[in-house]
Symmetry: C2
Subunit: 327 residues, 2 copies
């Protein structure tokens, strides 16, 4: 949750004149998004989200994020659509920060997604992968394989205080993943953070995907692994193979996995678990004194990593049919 | 800003079935209100605020707060209107807490209200005082004269660390106010927290008053003094007599002050400044380690108190005409 920046009244009024969305009726800071300041605004024309990008976001990445949302919207993916100013640009400056206005999506993120919801999540993930094939801006994954060692260096000192033996666990895992990473799998633009918080449902139908601020270029199947970790564990951290099977089946109904992707799933799930373990560990050990955000316990992802380390075959993820031919 | 309580999906859906407001389209935790958890919800029927009352609110006070908002709404004051459940009740239980749904008001709170805005604020304050005359629940002012000594006891230890001599200043002031308090002035229901944050404007016209969770029975003119402190000082803490005159004129256009109220204004302004000085001092010295809220600097109200201590006559508040006869 976050509202880091206050917008002076007069600046806001002037800012909205750059758009063709009518006059402001209301503005509420909303408790959403760890990285940025978000405001729900209503105007003569409807409801929008105004985002001010705070210092954790590199302004150089904004054309990628905004361009991707516009591209996906144009291909029929329901995601926040950047609103253009009268100038035709979507990226502005407000209160000393980069800022954008995007469409507001109706829908509720589910805390306890069902198997049917997991299937819908898998479908939309594949649709995004397909829709982004001809998106022409690239963004490296700063939290991909190459980023894990430097990320862990910043948490090394406190790691064993969180869990005895954690340093050893992480270092061995990074070494294993570096040695075995399936770098030749199909790659493209991935969402990279499609947790249930970032997927909206209306009357139990998936109604939209939000928060593209970790999107980047990487292995498509890594995005599936991120979703398996985020959607298919129960609150007690046990793995729900029915949900995993549903998510994979939903994905494959749109884009079939290659044999190599299928075989790599356990390893990609380990990599994905490690990625979230590392960022949560870092946040856990580096809470600023006036933090507005309670950090998430890294233990959840330690447990998930260990689960995937014990997986002997991709079939354990509930996808028992042979993979179909890649589209 | 605050969202303290998470609502489980299934509880929320069941809860909304108690109301006749249609199905949920969206829910966003909003960064507003220090005391409670607030959610903006949209349903088939429109937009509402769902509030979960957290532990700083005494559940025994809720019938007063909700009843007052309903009473004022019925008299034409634009304020959040509690939505009744099918049962006819407005107060419910959700996620283990007392909860209510109120109408959402369009409008924006101004950070830099003009003199014209101050006049409108004065008008609506008087309209509320008149409209609440026949409201029949009572609530003592826990932050009134009798509350200041015990409140200061909880901050005494740290007071001189905030400002050298603050203990002496506060104790002398409490003694003076106790000895001179004009207890016989016209009394009734006061808002008691009508800061610019709690007043909404649309196209520069006052469109609503919110946050009645400090409302109580006390001297009507104390509410005016609270507004003079909240609306009529500039960001550099200098007093803007034009704004004060406008606020008082707006008030008197609806309800004329009595001679006794007029004469008591400097003293009531001192009392009001002391009340906010004391609560801010307490919050400043008692920030919980995981606070979501940055406390406000008590120095602002030390400066305001000193200003009013130097006022020699009520005319210094910009109201130069003789008070009209009381309505």
């Amino acid at each position: 949750m976050a509202v880091y920046t206050d917008i002076p009244d007069d600046e806001l009024a002037l800012h909205l004149e750059r758009y063709n969305i009518g006059e402001l009726h209301a503005i509420k800071g909303i408790a959403e998004g760890v990285e940025n300041s978000n405001f729900l605004i209503t105007t003569d024309n409807g409801t929008y989200i105004l985002t001010l990008y705070e210092k954790r976001v590199d302004p150089a990445d904004l054309p990628f994020f905004l361009g991707l949302m516009k591209h996906l919207s144009s291909k029929g993916i329901t995601c926040p659509e950047p609103i253009e100013m009268r100038s035709g640009e979507s990226l502005a400056q407000l209160a000393g920060r980069p800022a954008a206005i995007v469409s507001f999506l109706d829908g509720i993120s589910l805390r306890r997604p069902s198997s049917a919801n997991c299937r819908q999540a898998g479908e939309v993930l594949a649709k995004m992968h397909v829709a982004a094939r001809d998106f022409d801006i690239r963004r490296e994954n700063a939290l991909g394989l190459a980023g894990w060692r430097p990320l862990f260096e910043n948490s090394r000192k406190g790691a064993d205080g969180v869990l005895a033996g954690l340093t050893e666990l992480v270092e061995t895992e990074i070494g294993y993943l570096e040695a075995n990473w399936p770098a030749k799998l199909p790659a493209g633009v991935i969402h990279a953070d499609m947790f249930p918080d970032n997927v909206l449902f209306l009357k139990n139908q998936l109604s939209g995907v939000i928060d593209f601020y970790f999107a980047c270029n990487d292995l498509l199947a890594l995005d599936i692994a991120i979703c398996l970790n985020a959607w298919c564990f129960e609150p007690d951290w046990s793995f729900n193979v029915t949900k995993a099977g549903a998510l994979l089946a939903g994905y494959q109904s749109v884009r079939a996995l290659t044999q190599e992707e299928y075989d790599a799933l356990p390893l990609l799930c380990r990599g994905s678990a490690l990625r979230f373990l590392l960022t949560r560990l870092y946040d856990w050990l580096n809470v600023p004194p006036n933090a507005l955000v309670t950090p998430k316990d890294p233990s959840e992802y330690i447990a998930k990593l260990r689960f995937h380390q014990g997986v002997k075959s991709p079939g354990e993820y509930g996808l028992h049919q042979l993979p179909l031919e890649s589209k």
